[in-house]
Symmetry: C2
């Protein structure tokens, strides 16, 4: 694209505020079969849980989860979304003869008034990159606290965040060191920005050098908004002699209410999902020997200025055969 | 990404209005070597044209073209950009010791007042997808009419738009027919949206079934804004027996002032560029035999509501051994 000057008017502004109005983003999510088939399995294989229940779909998008729930015998499904995609969703629900089972309401969860006081089940696909980036979990918690009946269920109900370290010399050179010499010019001022920015990308499982460490488990039934700002320790152990150029993070999701629990992973060892993995480059490579450990602390908090951005800090230390390293790395995504 | 509700505040709005403030979009453009090396060749190999000249860089981004011009002996370069990327550009220009040769001004071309009355050369990388989508050509024309000295030069000065037709059954099925059955549900209302939307994607040269037709040549020195709304005929001839599922369009760019003219193409037969090609799916496949022709008319105009969007209409007719087709296809990008 040309380096335009961003002179767009109201329409583009609306478009940004409502980037989910376009079907393209929903196409990517629908075509993520790990995601969509996991939700479908958790709903279709548990008709005994959905039968005659009132269901709330938070951030319903094109209505796919609402339709899964309706097909599983729900008495009624309420789908909420702020985006104009809900206009398409209504057409789709109608084309599939489910208008009497599904009511779609456009608005913010905080503002909408459901025609019922309580719901039995909340379904939502709220996860963002690094689980929490631009995620809709806050909105799910609002819905839970306002509408979920005692003993009600949330699909999914568990999320676990992981960290590990990878060898990634070639790509780090392409993404970070590239800025040292751009067609003969010194672009190192961009380099210092680039290294602070986590990269969302697919990581080859063979690049993973260490054991993984589950650094955060989230129980959606009980978690509080304040729990999403956290500082947690981690410890990972090299599984071979190699170099470490980056930490990576991913998450697993669980639907543990199911007759047979459904899980999926967004890790490098699992099938591709549109969440990929999140890569945090370290300033210097770490030369690790099999069995040596990297210990650290990861902090995550919403950015003070834009709460949908995340400030992530990784402090780590390493005492190995090839030297000692202690670093403080600040990232923003 | 989760289907969030777009609840962001001022910062995100600013970010959208200034999506060019982030280095990522500039990284993609810089790493497009067909693009950047063509500009560099046109400037570095023509020092006799740049020596002691006043140069204006319209939409300077990170300042790469300005620095090329300064290194080629320009007396002074003025770089204009509306985006906050100019703050980075100033740092880069400074880091490369070119502050006395390059002045970077943040603002709209329409509003800024250069410290000089006229410039000898305008350089700009203004091209968008399908050449004209979100392009900055309007701004280049404003700069030309306001500042270019009589006999002045524009780099590049020529653009040519092409159309051809391709066999693309498998991908059309994945992108368009997908919506007929989404996990068992009828999403055909999305299908009718999807087919109206040109796809920016790389097309394999082997998929091209017909001859290309150059339907629009633009001389940047003389073109008027009104010329960017046009209706032009085209005629393409099948080069083999095959099926046609889509029209594609691309553009070539020329720097014809050069001692040895520099050209690059964004066509399917040429090396990858970030502009890729633009694909317009037809409602039905056309069964063509070698030598048969498809004739049509292509109209292009800025959208009435958002002038940065394009309304593109392709009317075509085909009389072949396997039947006759006459279609009117409306696209919006």
């Amino acid at each position: 694209m040309a380096n335009n000057q961003g002179e767009s008017g109201l329409t583009s502004k609306d478009y940004y505020f409502d980037s989910y109005a376009h079907f393209g983003i929903h196409e990517e999510m629908l075509k993520d079969e790990v995601r969509t088939l996991s939700y479908r399995a958790s709903i279709y294989n548990n008709k005994h849980l959905f039968q005659d229940k009132i269901v709330l779909d938070v951030g319903c998008g094109t209505g796919i989860l609402s339709m899964f729930a309706a097909k599983s015998g729900a008495k009624h499904v309420y789908g909420i979304d702020m985006s104009n995609i809900i206009i398409q969703a209504r057409k789709i629900v109608d084309d599939n003869g489910l208008t009497d089972k599904i009511t779609l309401i456009q608005g913010k969860m905080e503002d909408v008034k459901l025609p019922v006081d309580k719901v039995d089940i909340i379904i939502s696909e709220w996860m963002g990159y690094f689980l929490l980036y631009e995620s809709m979990l806050d909105t799910v918690l609002v819905a839970r606290d306002k509408y979920l009946a005692p003993g009600g269920m949330i699909f999914p109900d568990k999320a676990t965040m992981y960290i590990a370290a990878i060898e990634d010399g070639d790509y780090k050179e392409e993404k970070i060191d590239y800025w040292d010499n751009v067609y003969g010019f010194d672009y190192s001022s961009i380099k210092s920005l680039a290294i602070k920015e986590p990269l969302v990308d697919t990581v080859d499982a063979r690049a993973v050098v260490t054991t993984p460490c589950a650094f955060r488990e989230i129980d959606i039934l009980t978690v509080q908004k304040s729990d999403l700002t956290f500082t947690v320790p981690f410890k990972i152990t090299a599984a071979r002699d190699d170099y470490v150029h980056a930490f990576i993070s991913w998450f697993d999701i669980g639907f543990t209410h199911c007759h047979k629990p459904v899980h999926f992973s967004t890790g490098p060892h699992a099938k591709y999902t549109h969440w990929k993995q999140t890569v945090f480059y370290t300033p210097e490579a770490i030369t690790v020997k099999n069995g040596e450990t990297i210990e650290g602390v990861l902090s995550c908090s919403p950015n003070g200025i834009n709460p949908r951005d995340l400030d992530i800090v990784i402090d780590y230390s390493f005492n190995g055969n090839h030297g000692s390293i202690k670093e403080h790395c600040e990232f923003k995504m």
